[in-house]
Symmetry: C2
Subunit: 104 residues, 2 copies
């Protein structure tokens, strides 16, 4: 698996490699604050689709949480489907998205 574009520095690359070493992981994406994939191990189209949707979802989830408790903050959003599992960890500047195969 190759890290296609990397403007993030060696720290981020090392973290992505560590995550990708897990056999279940299909790919990782780091999304910038404008919603574009900054660094990814997936193909551009898949990365762009996941970036858009997972970022929107985490924004919506974050706002929903604030409505329930203003002091609360989103840590992780996990989306389990029949085929895959996608996790987004939001941050002020970047969002980390990990796409995994589901265990049988």
């Amino acid at each position: 698996m190759e890290i296609a574009q990397n403007f993030m520095g060696p720290g981020a690359t090392a973290t992505m490699w560590r995550i990708n070493e897990n056999g279940c992981v299909v790919g990782t994406i780091i999304v910038n604050c404008e919603g574009f994939p900054e660094t990814t191990t997936l193909d551009s189209l898949t990365a762009a689709t996941y970036s858009t949707h997972m970022r929107n979802l985490s924004h919506y989830a974050s706002n929903a949480l604030k409505e329930i408790d203003v002091l609360d903050e989103l840590v992780v959003l996990r989306l389990v489907s029949r085929k895959t599992e996608a996790v987004v960890a939001p941050d002020d500047e970047f969002h980390l998205i990990v796409v995994m195969r589901r265990n049988a």
Copy 2:
């Protein structure tokens, strides 16, 4: 913990009791296809807020998944925040929402 209103039959009530027996569980909500809480162990306002947001979120997630793979289907959506953890399991007719305290 009391199950406030129950139009769901004994099967659903038994399942909700079983889930509520877990020490981490704050409450469960069963949301009908119109987005209203049908049965809940939470207070009405909290149940209504969670119902609206979690249902919208699971709809969005479901549509996003279909855009990535038309044959895929949402199984569970898990929202982890600093204070709580909310899980929604969508179904054609009803959505089950479980709100949990986060382990330290």
